[in-house]
Amino acid sequence: MKLNSSFNRSLWVYHFNSGSCNGCEIEIVATITPRYDPERFGIKLVGSPRHADVMLITGPVVHKMKDRLLRVYAQMPDPKLVMCIGACGISGGVFFDSYNLEGPVDEVIPVDVYVPGCPPRPEAIIHGVVTALAKLERLQGERA
């Protein structure tokens, strides 16, 4: 698996809600709007997992969404990264004892970058994407 050169510069991000409260969603959308404007670095929110390099997952994984999360994850082309946004995707957060959870995101699919916060600030989300970029570059360096 070799990363092509265009992949270095622009990460397309797909966003998946696996049972979140909407707080992280708002911050993700706020992140892509003019105040923070990550589009100048080529970071763009796309509507289909087939176009995406990175998947942002918000929320703990509830029963009904587990199968859908796995299917969407399988649809993403390799190489792919998964970012877990928000405390409840990392550990369950305030919903830790709910009867309807499949557990934190990393018990369902592998996660590369964790962005803690409830919800994380837009700056934190951008920092997370930059960390993801660094990881991709490292992966590329190891394979080169």
Partner: protein
């Protein structure tokens, strides 16, 4: 193909992968050509069992859990739950706390309506307006962060009062923000309402008649846009609204008539931004001095709540309509019953009359028009003559944009 086969409706499914929806919904449309014949939907894809969890926690903990019911309506749910518990435990909330609650409640309404206006503009293919509204929304977020310490999930309301006071130094910050919005409102109204394309796409699109709105128990701006005069702040005042002069905003005040369409919903929401600015200004000028909470010590507060027995309902006018929390306490640490009815729950049924007879390209704006926080990534599967093709939300969005262009010609 035989003529009768042509008539057979085909099925379009939307969802349930709805990244920006607090209640991911699966829609099933029966289509005849481009026209929607029947609509059905299945909500409940992000059920987290919050009420169940709440019945195992104490009221102070639950307040922070209610913050996470919905990321946009942080003040609404915490306030609604606190109102219910305060009624049961007979806690007298200090007046200053009531005013601070109202100020934050209105700031939340401003940011929520601007958020919605951006989403609506995006659904119509007017992305520059999305970026404009979200850019100006950041100013409200800055003030909220200044007042509460958080941008989202504020954690400011506590049973018996609020957790942070508004200092005199913070008044100018609020004042600057309000005057910016009041100056901007004219521009936003102009951009949304005078724009020919928006009028063409939204006028007489997704109509909800007054009769349907009442029969389906629609609440909030969706009901007001259909001419139903309901607003909890005027009908059953809570917090500081009893002292303030709040009147429900109806579209006929601005344009002299009510259609009950998407356009009227834009009118109501934008005018409410201006109304919220006035309410905040009035609150700031009349805010009394005094304590901000009835009981500062959490251990004492918990002891009061533990002794409480009875049931109560907390009702709050959320940006999307009435939000209701029912709580029953039986002298234990945690409530024995807790039921939440959020505003979108009442409004979802209104999709069915709105969507009937409309075109596929109108689905995004109509679904967004009741403000269910729908914005990003829907997947659509079209089953036509037994062949399954998959439409992404992008395709749907493209259809919507194409219709806008068609109308512009």
């Amino acid at each position: 193909m035989a003529p009768d086969e042509k008539k057979a409706p085909y099925t379009v499914q939307i969802g349930p992968v709805h990244p920006a929806l607090k209640e991911p919904v699966m829609f099933t449309f029966e289509m005849d050509g481009e026209q929607v014949k029947t609509v059905d939907f299945a909500p409940g894809q992000t059920h987290r069992g919050i009420e169940w969890m709440g019945m195992r926690r104490n009221p102070v903990q639950i307040v922070h859990l209610t913050d996470r019911i919905c990321g946009i309506c942080g003040v609404v749910h915490t306030l609604s739950f606190s109102l219910a518990v305060e009624q049961i435990a007979e806690i007298q909330v200090p007046e200053r706390a009531d005013y601070i609650r109202s100020i934050l409640h209105e700031f939340e309404r401003i940011q929520s309506h601007l958020l919605w206006a951006g989403v609506a503009a995006h659904e119509l293919g007017f992305d520059s307006l999305l970026h404009l509204t979200w850019r100006v929304r950041e100013q409200a977020m800055d003030v909220i962060e200044n007042l509460t310490g958080n941008r989202v999930n504020y954690g400011i309301v506590q049973v018996g009062g609020v957790r942070r006071d508004i200092a005199p130094e913070q008044h100018p910050i609020i004042e600057t923000c309000l005057s910016t919005y009041e100056g901007l409102l004219e521009k936003l109204l102009n951009l949304f309402l005078e724009d020919r394309t928006i009028a063409m796409r939204c006028r007489d699109c997704g109509i909800l008649t007054r009769k349907d709105a009442i029969e389906l128990c629609t609440v909030g701006p969706t009901a007001r846009a259909s001419g139903v005069n309901v607003d909890l702040r005027q009908d059953y005042p809570y917090a500081a609204y009893g002292d303030l002069d709040v009147r429900a905003i109806l579209p006929e005040q601005y344009i002299g008539e009510t259609h009950g369409d998407v356009y009227d919903r834009i009118v109501v929401r934008l005018l409410e931004v201006g109304q919220s600015c006035q309410i905040i200004r009035q609150c700031l000028s009349e805010i009394p001095a005094g304590p901000i909470t009835a009981e500062e010590k959490l251990a004492k507060l918990l002891a009061i709540c533990k002794k409480a027995q009875g049931e109560a309902i907390g009702r709050v006018e959320a940006p999307r309509g009435e939000c209701l929390h029912y709580v029953r306490m039986d002298g234990k640490d945690s409530p024995t019953a807790w039921k939440v009815k959020a505003s979108s729950y009442s409004n979802l049924m209104s999709w069915i009359p709105m969507l009937k007879g409309e075109q596929i390209a109108d689905i995004p704006i109509i679904v967004a028009s009741i403000d269910p926080c729908l914005s990003c990534t829907d997947r659509v599967a079209v089953v036509q003559d037994g062949i399954r093709t998959i439409l992404t939300k992008e395709h749907l969005h493209r259809l919507s944009v194409e219709k806008t262009r068609r109308l512009q010609r």
